[in-house]
């Protein structure tokens, strides 16, 4: 399944793209989303905060119909100070929303990564390979 935990870290690997213009991949034609309950792991989430991109996460969550996250991000450089309320919301957004069928598109080169049965196809065509 494609969870926002992964999607918030994915960037387009094509040779035509560079970070940050190849991030985040936008969701498109999403046909099936599943909400699956997952175990709340506080230590994991606090450890994960340092690599989170808040604005991108809000945007992608909205693409999937979730607007739980506030616009202002907590101070991600101080993971121990983040409130439990925010952590619980993050838990739901990052780990419990699963995309089963749809696609992700690179904002820069427009490459479409199809998602089938929860598995995105990240294979590149020959002309897109970085040498």
């Amino acid at each position: 399944m494609v969870r926002l935990l992964t999607q918030n870290l994915l960037s387009c690997p094509s040779t035509h793209c560079t970070y940050p213009s190849n991030f985040p991949l936008s969701f498109q034609d999403v046909e099936t989303i599943e909400i699956v309950e997952a175990e709340y792991k506080e230590e994991f989430l606090r450890g994960f905060l340092n690599r989170l991109e808040w604005a991108a996460l809000r945007k992608s969550a909205a693409e999937l119909g979730n607007t739980d996250l506030p616009e202002e991000s907590p101070d991600l450089a101080q993971p121990q100070d983040v409130s439990e309320e925010i952590l619980k919301t993050l838990h739901h957004v990052l780990l419990e929303i699963q995309v089963k069928d749809g696609a992700m598109v690179c904002p820069s080169c427009k490459h479409v990564f199809q998602i089938k049965e929860g598995i995105p196809n990240m294979l590149l065509a020959d002309h897109e390979l970085r040498k």
Binding site: L5, L9, F44, P120, R130
Partner: protein
Amino acid sequence: MSRPEHLAPPQVFYNADEAKKYTNNSRIQNIQVEMTYRCLELLGLPPSEDDEDEPKPSFILDIGAGSGLSGEILTEEGHEWVGLDISGGMLEQALEREVEGDLLLSDIGQGIPYRAGSFDGAISVSVLQWLCNADASSHSPPQRLLRFFTDLFGVLTRGSKAVFQFYPESDEQVKFIMNFATKAGFGGGLVVDYPNSSKKKKFYLVLFAGSPPNAPKASQALPSALGVEGDKVAYEKTRERRKDRRGKVRKNIKDVDWILKKKELYRARGKEGVPRDSKYTARSRKPRF
């Protein structure tokens, strides 16, 4: 039996049927499980703040996740993970097993589609040797290996490790692979468990992605291998002198008298070239004889 990577590209070799057989084979399951635990041990994740005996729940990259055999163990140990694999057949098996990690259909020789510093560690069980073969005329293994290691170095947080269990064809292949890992910036080396047993010997490439911002030098040392000094592999013990049923060590039959009698017998039969008896007859020789 020829090596699988010489027969076909991984996504062709591990088609739907082969993937199913592989995944449901209990012997393979056991070996994969054992090697995954060893990879995690070598990964040396820091302890959890809540429970010293458990590892800190981390975000791990499973390279060549296949049918999720290794991924299930990552979940059991409390980690979140992402699995990459090029074989649709194997990923199908992982879906059937309902693994908890995110799975991606990707070719690691093309790189890794993640932002810098995404993962706390990476493991790989029985995969690296597949990257050394050109599965298409457009493939250049050196280019693919370098692209893979360069990207891997980037997606790992500073000071974290990548552990690869793999089956090298030769010492040259090991050097070939490590050359690219070094070019990409990795430190580390090879850990060989049970080096003296051809059956149980296992190769683990342990790579360090730079050093952590404030860690003591000791954490960068290569972990020690298993089965090197004194540790005996279970079935190697049978090579010692066999004991008879009552537990007494049997005497070796071929002693001096027996040899002299045998030589007399040959001379009596008229055999040519029976050596003369001298003080050297029946003297014990070094094992290499």
